[in-house]
Symmetry: C2
Subunit: 209 residues, 2 copies
């Protein structure tokens, strides 16, 4: 794998494979075929095998994949074998909800602090809330693997620029705006409005498609 | 357009065009070229023109598009020219956050009620919270354009099945699970964990790609 560039489409499928394997493991399933995984993801069995080939393959042809082994391998590939320190900028509805979401912490993504222009309460659950003026000092002292942008759209770009200047390399963006960042910074967008518009589009066009 | 089937990729781009046009309009920009739109979306100018051709085109070649006109046309195509009644199932962190999110209401997506197995408070802001046992009666009486699934993963499928049986045709799913629904029901997923895993993948593989 070393220098091989993995396509965007494959990278996007990896978390879904992982999620299915987690589900299968919980159901007590120990072996799974590329055909079954393919059906779950809505791709072809050959696509599944090809995806796994990018990482050196994980099974013997005809025997299926060992669920626990494959899940472990995918966890490793996805970087889920370590912890990540997260901070959330914006303690509004979304920021607060993410801070309270237990399953991220269980998966290794630990929210360490929230920042807002107005500190209405010192903690949300166990997580301290600081004034945004403390962001720079906080990141310099504690570091930050992933910063969540849960601010108003109007300030999201400025916040992102500040985080990038502080050396944060991963942004998880909930603001409805495309952030411009240097090549060495990763951004993942949760585009809620866009997703709602797709629903309204389908409602409007149901009879046509 | 009538019977033409619009590809999934085009449908996913439409909300982004709309968002850019909204932004341009706010900035006081009145004309935009397919080239500018293309740069914003990271596609080619010819792709933009082709996308719009699906809907009969919206401009004269070489003159650029009128921002307000194009935005209005896209709003119409996306079904944003009407209101949608939404209900949220699950009054946990995400359900509460969505209920409090003002911008959806401003865009015509009105949250009318929340449902949970446990009603801890009668209202969240202006929105009533009901016991999930009342879901069926509520939907029969009031109808529902879009149901938001913000429950635990373990009950998300059951909730979806119940909503489908009640005739709800659009599900906005925040649970980390793929819902199986009949062909005439639309589902849009907000896959938060998967998006986080893409970030962790990129962190782990930064040096390789």
């Amino acid at each position: 794998m070393g220098n091989k560039v993995i396509s965007e489409a494959v990278v996007k499928r990896l978390p879904r494979y992982y999620r299915y394997l987690e589900h299968l493991e919980q159901e007590g399933v120990t072996k799974v075929s590329s055909g079954s995984l393919a059906r779950l993801l809505g791709v072809t069995a050959s696509q599944v095998r090809q995806d796994f080939c990018n990482f050196g393959g994980f099974g013997q042809h005809g025997y299926g994949y060992d669920v626990s082994y494959l899940k472990g391998k995918l966890a490793e590939i996805l970087g889920l074998d370590r912890q990540y320190d997260m901070i959330i900028i914006g303690a509004g509805n979304i920021g607060r909800a993410l801070a309270g979401y237990k399953s991220f912490a269980a998966e290794g993504f630990k929210v360490r602090a929230l920042f807002d222009i107005e500190v209405r309460e010192p903690r949300i659950g166990d997580i301290p809330v600081y004034n945004i003026e403390k962001l720079s000092d906080y990141v310099k002292e504690n570091g930050c693997d992933i910063a969540v942008i849960a601010t108003q759209k109007s300030v999201a770009s400025d916040v992102a620029n500040q985080l990038v200047a502080l050396g944060v390399k991963s942004l998880w963006n909930f603001a409805p705006i495309d952030l411009e960042v240097p090549d060495d910074v990763s951004v993942e967008n949760i585009a809620m409005s866009e997703s709602l518009y797709v629903l309204s589009y389908r409602m409007k066009n149901k009879n046509k498609n």
